[in-house]
């Protein structure tokens, strides 16, 4: 009777040990998973910290083109220095043809061109009117 009771107890202990080992293994796995994830996060962070040089370069080139267009706009609109402005617009188009500011520069050049042609037309009209007046 006593022996049976002991044997039962030993069996219980063995079961408990087995359960504890399983629990321990599970804990180990979870910890390992956490460590792996942490390492992966660190690597992802490291990757994220490395800037894309081409993207960075594109930003800087954008800035450069913007500075030139901005300067040209001031020359054209505030100081009425059309020739200097045209030079700057052309420089942007020439050096950074694919940049979005090159598109702006093209648009400005087109505006200047149409403005000049309008002026020439109005001058021509005036000359024509003057000539007509003198004839009449």
């Amino acid at each position: 009777m006593e022996q049976d009771r002991i044997a039962a107890l030993e069996s219980q202990v063995r079961q408990l040990n087995a359960q504890a080992e399983v629990a321990m293994n599970l804990i180990q796995e979870v910890l390992e998973e956490e460590r792996r994830q942490s390492r992966l996060d660190e690597l992802e962070a490291q990757l994220a910290n490395i800037p894309d040089p081409l993207e960075e370069m594109q930003k800087q080139v954008d800035k450069t083109a913007y500075i030139l267009v901005y300067q040209a706009d001031r020359l054209y609109r505030e100081l009425n220095q059309t020739d200097s402005a045209v030079e700057n617009y052309r420089r942007v188009i020439e050096l950074f043809p694919e940049n979005r500011w090159a598109k702006v520069a093209r648009k400005r050049l087109s505006e200047i061109k149409s403005e000049k042609s309008n002026k020439t037309d109005s001058k021509g009209d005036m000359q024509w009117k003057t000539q007509n007046a003198s004839w009449s």
């Binding site: 998973e33 792996r36 390492r39 992966l40 690597l43 992802e44 490291q46 990757l47 490395i50 800037p51 894309d52 040089p53 081409l54 960075e56 370069m57 800087q60 080139v61 800035k63 450069t64 500075i67 030139l68 901005y70 300067q71 001031r74 020359l75 505030e78 100081l79 009425n80 220095q81 200097s84 420089r91 050096l95 950074f96």
Partner: protein, 450 residues
């Protein structure tokens, strides 16, 4: 003495009044029945109006307008006969000169001058002496008597002194002479009436001369007023023109030229700066464009990157497969999945690092500082351009001002002349006014008479 003076004044007044009344009377009135008459006459006249001397007084008395007229009106004789009807004897001359204190004034006969009282006393004494001499024809007093019809100047014997006193406030000459009328037969016996009429005519002649003189001065004053008004108008108009030209600043040719020179120098300096800035802008922009091109080229052609990209593609495939198996139930592949994922990330890191490395070697890290430099030069260039526009306007204004300077200088000269003209005209006007105020009306006073 005071009483004597009063008596003299009364006698003069009586004689004057009676003389005037008699002169105005018709010849048909009752005659005095006198063939002789004499009196002492005091003539006061402004020498500016009529510079009197005994010769001129003598001529005046014997002229047809004075003595001649009296002879005709009172005695009914021809004016030619007047030459023998009276004798003039010089007694005294006194000149009072208001301007004697001035450097251009006449020299004073008496250094200290005499006052009116002393003068009256002296005149009284001399009058008494003259009276005595008249009563005694054999006396030493010399007289002049003109020959009949003769117009030659008479010799006037001067017995007295020429007195000048600075105490008199006005400019006048006083002459004292005695007038003796002697009417021979068959001329009408009206010596007193004739004498009164002669003196009345003399006074009228002097007053007429004075009036004409004053009238002339008034005319000149009017002209001076008009001239002054015109000069003032001219001056104000020229000043306004000057203000219009110069904008209320003094235009000096040299200072305008110096200003133009300075502006030109500033423009040149700024243009040089601007050129320098523009060169820097061009160079920086070009450098940025070159770096961009170089970076793109190196990153696109780098062999390591190519290998790394291929490796990355393999890692990607591996990861995708493991992930697929894992999702299909192969839970044992959990470690493999994590491993594949880690390798994939590491490959990406290696690729990014390589690109970064290439970017740096191509100068990509300089672009930011180059852009900063470009911004500065660009701003400087724009600012200088603004300065140039402003200076160009200033230069244009200064050159226009230089053109105006010639007109301004000429007009300034004209303004100075107009100012001077105004001053002179005002001075002239004041002088005229003073002259008019200073003119003394002539007077003819009779002192005593038979």
């Amino acid at each position: 003495m005071e009483n004597t003076k009063r008596i003299m004044v009364l006698i003069i007044a009586t004689v004057l009044v009676s003389g005037m009344i008699q002169a105005g009377e018709q010849p048909q009135a009752k005659l005095s029945n006198t063939r002789q008459a004499s009196c002492m006459v005091k003539v006061t006249c402004d020498p500016v109006v009529l510079p009197l001397s005994f010769e001129t007084i003598d001529y005046l008395l014997r002229s047809s307008g004075v003595g001649g007229k009296a002879a005709r009106e009172v005695l009914d004789v021809s004016p030619d006969q007047v030459q023998d009807l009276f004798i003039i004897e010089y007694v005294h001359e006194l000149i009072s000169d208001a301007t004697s204190k001035s450097p251009s004034g006449r020299s004073s006969g008496l250094e200290g001058g005499i006052n009116e009282y002393e003068y009256a006393m002296m005149m009284e004494a001399e009058y008494s002496e003259m009276y005595n001499e008249m009563m005694n024809p054999s006396g030493s007093t010399q007289s002049t008597r003109s020959s009949k019809g003769s117009r030659r100047p008479r010799r006037i014997q001067s017995t007295g002194r020429t007195l000048t006193t600075s105490d008199f406030p006005v400019n006048e000459q006083t002459y004292l002479f005695s007038l003796h009328i002697q009417l021979p037969e068959p001329i009408k016996p009206a010596a007193e009436e004739f004498m009164d009429c002669v003196l009345f005519n003399l006074k009228n002649a002097l007053i007429r001369a004075s009036d004409e003189h004053v009238q002339k001065l008034n005319g000149q004053l009017k002209i001076a007023d008009e001239e002054a008004a015109q000069a003032e108008h001219d001056l104000s108009r020229k000043r306004e023109e000057l203000r219009n030209i110069s904008g209320s600043r003094i235009l000096d040719r040299d200072s305008v030229l110096a200003e133009i020179e300075k502006i030109r120098s500033d423009i040149q300096k700024i243009k040089m700066e601007q050129d320098s800035d523009q060169v820097m802008v061009d160079a920086t922009t070009k450098q940025i464009a070159e770096i961009q091109a170089k970076m793109q080229k190196e990153i696109n052609t780098d062999a390591v990157i190519k290998e790394l990209k291929e490796l990355l593609a393999l890692q990607q495939q591996n990861f995708q497969q493991v992930e697929k198996f894992y999702k299909n139930g192969s839970t044992s592949l959990v470690d493999d999945l994590a491993d594949a994922q880690e390798k994939l990330v590491r490959s990406r890191i290696e690729l990014a690092q390589r690109r970064e490395q290439l970017s740096k070697s191509a100068g990509g890290n300089l672009i930011e500082s180059l852009n900063s430099t470009l911004t500065n030069y660009s701003l400087n260039a724009t600012q200088n351009q603004m300065k140039l526009v402003s200076l160009a306007q200033q230069l244009k204004d200064a050159e226009e001002l230089l053109c105006k300077t010639d007109d301004y200088e000429l007009l300034s000269l004209k303004t100075d002349i107009a100012k001077q003209s105004l001053q002179e005209t005002i001075l002239w006007r004041d002088r005229m006014s003073r002259h008019i105020r200073m003119v003394q009306p002539p007077s003819v006073s009779v002192i005593g008479g038979d």
